[in-house]
């Protein structure tokens, strides 16, 4: 017997994101991980931006001016979307873990993601027209 083939391993983490042919719950699982990684990456990026403060007001103003480009605004919309998707999905998991709405976990996920999309759209409109 070959013990290595198919053995559970931390190096299999990329399989978390392969939701092809999987059910709604798996997509929710994969989406939660993707948004978590995105938000963590943003946190470090944010700390990097804040570090510009230490280089004086001119460097900071220059950086903020660059951040107001549409491309970066689009990135910020993605951050807001990730926050809503992750947060609302987290509420679903918490409810399920308390025994609430387990029979409707798929419908609950879809409903919460519709909310996340709508709220993200409102934010996007406001951010691009501000």
């Amino acid at each position: 017997m070959d013990e290595a083939t198919n053995k559970p391993s931390a190096s299999n983490w990329l399989t978390w994101f392969d939701a092809r042919r999987r059910d709604v719950g798996y997509w929710a699982f994969a989406l939660n991980r993707i948004t978590a990684l995105g938000l963590t990456f943003y946190l470090f990026l944010h700390l990097g931006v804040l570090s510009q403060l230490s280089q004086g007001p001119q460097a900071y103003d220059h950086f903020i001016a660059m951040m107001k480009q549409p491309l970066f605004t689009a990135g910020e919309v993605l951050v807001v979307s990730a926050g809503f998707i992750h947060g609302l999905n987290g509420i679903r998991i918490a409810l399920n873990s308390l025994g609430v709405a387990n029979a409707f976990q798929k419908a609950l996920f879809i409903a919460l993601m519709i909310v996340a999309i709508l709220v993200s759209f409102i934010f996007a409109v406001r951010m691009f027209t501000a």
Partner: protein, 241 residues
């Protein structure tokens, strides 16, 4: 004349320390045949060295669980027309997260050990099955004569679980479902899985429930165990006051 399809089986092969590969077999089949029928025909007429597990042919033994086109299926009850089309491909692979013995056959010892460890009973009275009305999947409805809670230990849930893929210490959906079933008769049994690699390791993908061929609904059982454990902890705080 009955309809005939020509399909290609892509079969995972693994012998000893040789690297794995896929062998292709073209078969003339009826679309109403089951995936396992094709595998048996490959063994009978094309390659007698093909290793695979099967026994009952009616979804009772749980031996023929495999991945069919990427999804965990009990191949004895999976009709060919549900997974491919005329001229299409059926890719058959062993279950994930279990060591491969050879080709499509995997070693499920760990699953059986864990089921025993949590006190899971393979046969139990219907009133102890624990799943409330409305939570059953499929066409079956709860009634006194249906066996709906019985886990056939096929391992499909362990293969489909994304957490079982990354850690061997996680008990997995089948054992946790077994612990839940045990805890209905003996509430103290829940404490057997009240640890980081037990009921709290699940990340709510519910894929175990999705692939389960026996309506065990491990996802719901894990969540219900959590609810019971949280309730008992909260009640414990008030009892100590």
């Amino acid at each position: 004349m009955a309809q005939r399809w020509t399909i290609t089986y892509e079969v995972f092969r693994k012998k000893g320390s040789h690297p794995p590969h896929f062998d292709r077999f073209k078969l003339d089949v009826s679309p109403d045949e089951y995936v396992l029928d094709g595998i048996e025909r490959i063994w009978a007429f094309h390659d007698r060295s093909l290793v695979f597990s099967h026994a009952c042919h009616h979804s009772t033994c749980g031996a023929c669980g495999m991945r069919v086109n990427g999804l965990e299926k009990l191949t004895c009850i999976t009709p060919i027309h549900k997974v491919t089309r005329d001229g299409g491909v059926i890719r058959v692979e062993p279950l994930k997260n279990f060591p491969v013995i050879s080709d499509l056959s995997v070693d499920m010892s760990l699953l059986y050990q864990r089921m025993e460890m949590v006190g899971q009973r393979s046969v139990l009275p219907i009133e102890e099955e624990g799943i409330p009305d409305g939570l059953l999947y499929g066409k079956e409805q709860k009634s006194g004569h249906l066996r709906l809670a019985d886990c056939i230990e096929c391992g499909l849930c362990m293969s489909a679980c994304p957490i079982s893929a990354t850690t061997s210490s996680y008990l997995g959906p089948a054992a946790l479902a077994g612990a839940h079933q045990h805890s209905i008769a003996d509430p103290q049994a829940a404490s057997l899985v009240d640890h980081a690699d037990g009921v709290w390791r699940c990340h709510s993908a519910f894929e175990c429930t999705s692939v389960c061929p026996s309506n065990v609904n491990p996802g719901w059982r894990i969540m219900d165990l959590r609810k019971r454990l949280i309730s008992s902890r909260i009640l414990g705080i008030f009892r100590r006051l």
